[in-house]
Symmetry: D2
Subunit: 286 residues, 4 copies
C-alpha cells in the first residue's frame, strides 16, 4: 500500500453571462483506492451536482458559475493497494472470455482509431507471444516512435497524427498505445490522475494520463510516455480516451489559469506501507 496526498487548485475568470462546468478532478473511490480524507472548496459558493459513474467510478462535478472569478480547490489523501504480478505470468484474455463490460474498450474511439491500425499492429506485434510482455513491447515501440515535447499537440490530435508526426505529450503516447492494443484485440483504456515521482525536469506537477490494458482479468497500468512512476499514481478518471475524462469541460466564455497541483507520499506507521518506487512487476489497481 502507498499513501499519497495531493491538492489541485484551479482558477478561472468567467465572462458574462456565466458558464457551465463539468469537472472530473476528484480522486476516484475504488476497491483498490481508498480516499482516507478529502475536501472540496468552491468559491464563490455554488450549487454543486455530483455523480459517480457506476461503471468507471469517475466522479463528475457539475456547476454553473456567474461572471467573475471562480476558484476550486480539492485535496485528498488516498491509500492505493497494488496488485503485483510477474510480467511473464500475466496472459491476454481471449475475446470469447472477455466480460461484456470490457468489450467497449476494444472498439475505436475519438482519439484511438484502432480500426485504422490493424495491419500495422499485426506487422509489428502479431508474431509476439501473447501476454503482458507483448503489451510492454507495444509500449516500448511507442516510446521509440514518439518524442515527448510540450505544446506539440492539441485537443484534436489523434493517434494517427502522433504516429506520423512522432511527437506529443502524455495523452498522445497513451492514445497511440491504446489504439495499437485494441488493434491487437487487447482491451485498453485511458486513465487520468496525478502522479507522485515524475521527472522534475518536465516542469511542475500536472495532470497525467496513463494506459490500462486488460490482461489476466485485471486492468494493468502502463506509462507509455515513460515520464512517471506507475506506483505513485492516483486515479481520477477512467474512460475510452481523453474525450471521456477531461478534468474540466467548459461551456461559456472563460479564461483559465494554469492548474496548481501538489503531491507527496506519506508514511503510514503500523500498516503494510511502502514508498512508491519504480518497479519491474506488473501493477494493477483496477
Amino acid at each position: 500500500m502507498v499513501r499519497l496526498a495531493f491538492s489541485i487548485s484551479l482558477r478561472y475568470d468567467v465572462g458574462p453571462p456565466g458558464a457551465d462546468f463539468v469537472f472530473n478532478l476528484q480522486a476516484a473511490h475504488t476497491p483498490q483506492q481508498t480516499v482516507v480524507a478529502e475536501e472540496l472548496h468552491v468559491s464563490p459558493p455554488l450549487t454543486l451536482r455530483t455523480h459517480t459513474d457506476p461503471a468507471t467510478r469517475a466522479r463528475i462535478l457539475q456547476l454553473s458559475a456567474p461572471p467573475g472569478p471562480l476558484h476550486l480547490r480539492h485535496q485528498a489523501t488516498v491509500d492505493v493497494v497494488h496488485h503485483m504480478a510477474d510480467p511473464a505470468s500475466v496472459p491476454e484474455v481471449p475475446v470469447a472470455q472477455l466480460p461484456p463490460e470490457v468489450l467497449p474498450y476494444l472498439y475505436p474511439s475519438r482519439y484511438c482509431p484502432s480500426d485504422r491500425l490493424g495491419r500495422l499492429a499485426m506487422r509489428h506485434f502479431g508474431h509476439l507471444p501473447q501476454g503482458f510482455l507483448r503489451v510492454q513491447a507495444v509500449q516500448q515501440w511507442v516510446q521509440q516512435q514518439v518524442s515527448f515535447q510540450s505544446n506539440t499537440s492539441n485537443s484534436t490530435t489523434w493517434a494517427l497524427d502522433t504516429l506520423t508526426e512522432g511527437v506529443g505529450v502524455c495523452r498522445d503516447f497513451a492514445h497511440l498505445m491504446i489504439a495499437l492494443c485494441r488493434a491487437l484485440n487487447i482491451p485498453a483504456r485511458f486513465t487520468t490522475g496525478i502522479d507522485y515521482g515524475a521527472d522534475p525536469a518536465l516542469g511542475p506537477t500536472d495532470f497525467h494520463a496513463y494506459v490500462e490494458a486488460y490482461l489476466g482479468h485485471r486492468w494493468y497500468l502502463f506509462d507509455p510516455s515513460g515520464t512517471a512512476m506507475p506506483m505513485g499514481f492516483i486515479r481520477i478518471g477512467t474512460g475510452r480516451d481523453a474525450a471521456d475524462v477531461s478534468f474540466a469541460t467548459i461551456f461559456g466564455n472563460v479564461t483559465s489559469m494554469a492548474p496548481l497541483i501538489e503531491i507527496r507520499a506519506l508514511t503510514c506507521p503500523g500498516q503494510p506501507w511502502r514508498e512508491p518506487v519504480h518497479c519491474q512487476e506488473a501493477l494493477s489497481t483496477g
Copy 2:
C-alpha cells in the same frame, strides 16, 4: 402503440481455427419497447453468453464458433409506445441541467468528431432559436449536403469525410448530424434497428441507423437519411456512434453472407393500436 414483428437471419462461413463473435442484434427491452415474444436459434448449437448493458439496454451476445457454417436466426414481436409532442414545444436542456449519464453524448467519438465542427455548427445553426426545431434544421441541412448512395463509405468513414464528400449511407448521415448536435452542446446518440416502412426503392430491408437527440429531458428520434419512417423503428442498439453498436463484431477468418431481414406491422385488437405512419409530431421512445 405500434406492434411490429421482425426476423433477422445471418449466415457465416467460419474458417479454421474458429472465430469469436459479439452480436448486438436482439430487440432491446426498454420501458417504451416491450418484447412480446422472441426467439433465437443458433446452429450449430453453441454456448451463448448474453448481457444487457445497464445504461443503454443494448443486448450483447457472445459466442465462439468452430470452423464451418454458422447460422443465427432471431425473430421478435415488439410493442412500441411513442411519446409524441408538438415540435415547437420541445426545448433544449441547458448543459447545467443535463443528467450526468447524458454527458458522454456531448463528447466527441470515433465517427463524430464534434470538437472539429464547433465553428461550422455555430455559423449555420448558432443563430436559430433553441429547441427541437433547431435540431430539425440540422437534420435538413445534413440532407441537403449529403446524397444517399450505397457503397460510398466504409468502416473508417467519419463525419468530416461525409461533410467534405457529400455522400454516404444512413450511418454517415447519422454521424454527421450527431457531430453537429454535439458541437451545439445538444447531446446526441446513435441508434440501430430495423425499420418498417422504408422506401422499397432502396432495396431489401436492412439494418438502419437513426439519431436521437436529448431534448425536453427525453431522447427524440430523427432520421437524417430521410429514407425511413421513425414510427416504424425497432430499437436494437444505442451508443455513441457505430463503433459501439455494430450488429456483429467478428474476430477470426469469417465469410459473411448478406443478412436477410423481414419486418411487418401487426394489428393489435383491443388495444390503443395504430399503424406506423409518417407524422409531423416529435417522437420519442427512450
Copy 3:
C-alpha cells in the same frame, strides 16, 4: 496602369553550422508587370544564385549563410497594367480548349485536394451559369464559410481543414477557393505578393496570397479573404499552392524575425496612370 513601390526587410539569426535558403520574394517580371527599378541587399555579402522559372516567371534566390545574423532587403518599383473586363462577359474555357501548360492547375495539389471536393462543388455551384460570375460565387461562398483569424492555421493546414473548421488566414481562403474551382474543372492557381490598400485593421503590411482562375483565356485575380484590393497587388510568386511559392524555405537551424514590409502607390505623370481602387471589373495581370 498603377505604379507601386515596396520594400521587404527580412532578418534571421542563423545557428551553426550555417543554413541554406531558397527565397521567392522578388517582384516577378511579366508582360503586365514591369519592374522599373529594383535593389537587393544581402548582408553579410554572400554568393547568390538566381533563377527565373520559365513558366511562372517566379524568381528564385538561393544562398548559403554562415552562422550569425542574415539580413535581406529588397525594394522595387513596378508598373502593373490591368486587363479589365465586364464580369458578365468572361466565359469559362472548355477543358478541350485549355492550353496544355494550364492543365496542371486543374489537378489536385498539397493544400488543394480538389479530388475530394467534386460532389460538394457540384452541389453548390454545378447549377450556376458558367463564367466569371460562377467563380465569384465560389469566392463569396468561401467568404461565408470561413472567418479570417490570425494564427488559426499552420503549414500543414489544407482546404479540407479550412472547410470543416471555418477559420483561417489568406492562404487558407485561397486554398479552399482553388480546390473548389479545380473541382469544377476551372484551372486555378495560387499567387503571392504584397498588396497596397489592405485594411489597416488587419495589422502591418504582410505578404498576401491571392487566387487566379483561368477564364476567357486569361488568369483573373480573386481575393477570397476579402481583405485586400486586387488592383494594388504586386506579383511575386505563382504556383499550384503555398507549397510552391513560400517566400522563404529554410534548411537549417534558423530564428526568423517578423518581416518588415512597406508599400505605397506612386504617381506617374505623363502616363495613363491611375490610383489603385476597389473596382467592379474583372481584373487580370497574367
Copy 4:
C-alpha cells in the same frame, strides 16, 4: 542499352454528350530514351492536340470524343541507355547546390505530404550516412512497412494513409518513399511507365509507378514496391506525384475497360545491347 517494344490498347464507352480526355501514355523522348518507332491510332478519327512538357518531357494528348466507343492504340519501340554507378559512390546533393528546376521536387505535393513526416524521417534515417545507400534504406523500410495488395487504395489515398494502414499498390509505395525522401531534403519524383520483367504472379502487364531520387546530379531509379525490374522500365510520365501524370484524365460520363498492355525485349544486333536484368548497380535514365 536495352531495346523494348510495347503496346497499349485503351477502350472506352463515351456517354452523351461526349467527353474530353487528357492522355499521358506515350513513351517520353528523352536524352536517354530514344523512340525508334511509334504509332498512335485513335478510332473514330478525331482531332488530336499534342504537347510535350518542356521540363519533364511528358507527352500530353488532348482530344474530345463524341458519344460511342473510343479506342486508342499506341505502340512504340524504344532504346534506353542506362547510366550505371556503384551505389556506394553516389552522393546526395547539398540543398545549396541543387539546380533550381529540381527544387519543386523537394516540396510537398498532393499525395506526398513531406511536411508531415520530417520527424519520422529523421528518426529512422537521419543518422545514416548520406547518399544512394540512405535512399535505398528508405526504400527497404517502405517495403517492410507496406504490403502489396490490389484494390486496397484509391485516388484519394495519400502517403499518410499508406504509412498507417500498411497496404497499397505501386503508386502508394512510391508516394510514401517520395514523401520520406523529401522530408530528408532529397528531391524525389514520381515516374510512370510500362515495365518489362514484372513478376507474372501479379497479373497481366499494367502501368507501373517508380520513384526517382536526385543524387549525384542525376535522377536515379528506385522501385519501392519491389515488383519490377528497373532496367526494364520505359518512361511515360514524370511528375511530383500521381496527380501530375495520370495516364488518362477524363471529363465526362465514360465507362472504361481495363487497359491491355504488352511489352517485350528485343535484340539489337550490332549495338552494345543487353537483356534487361535485375542488377545491383544504381541506375539512372534521366
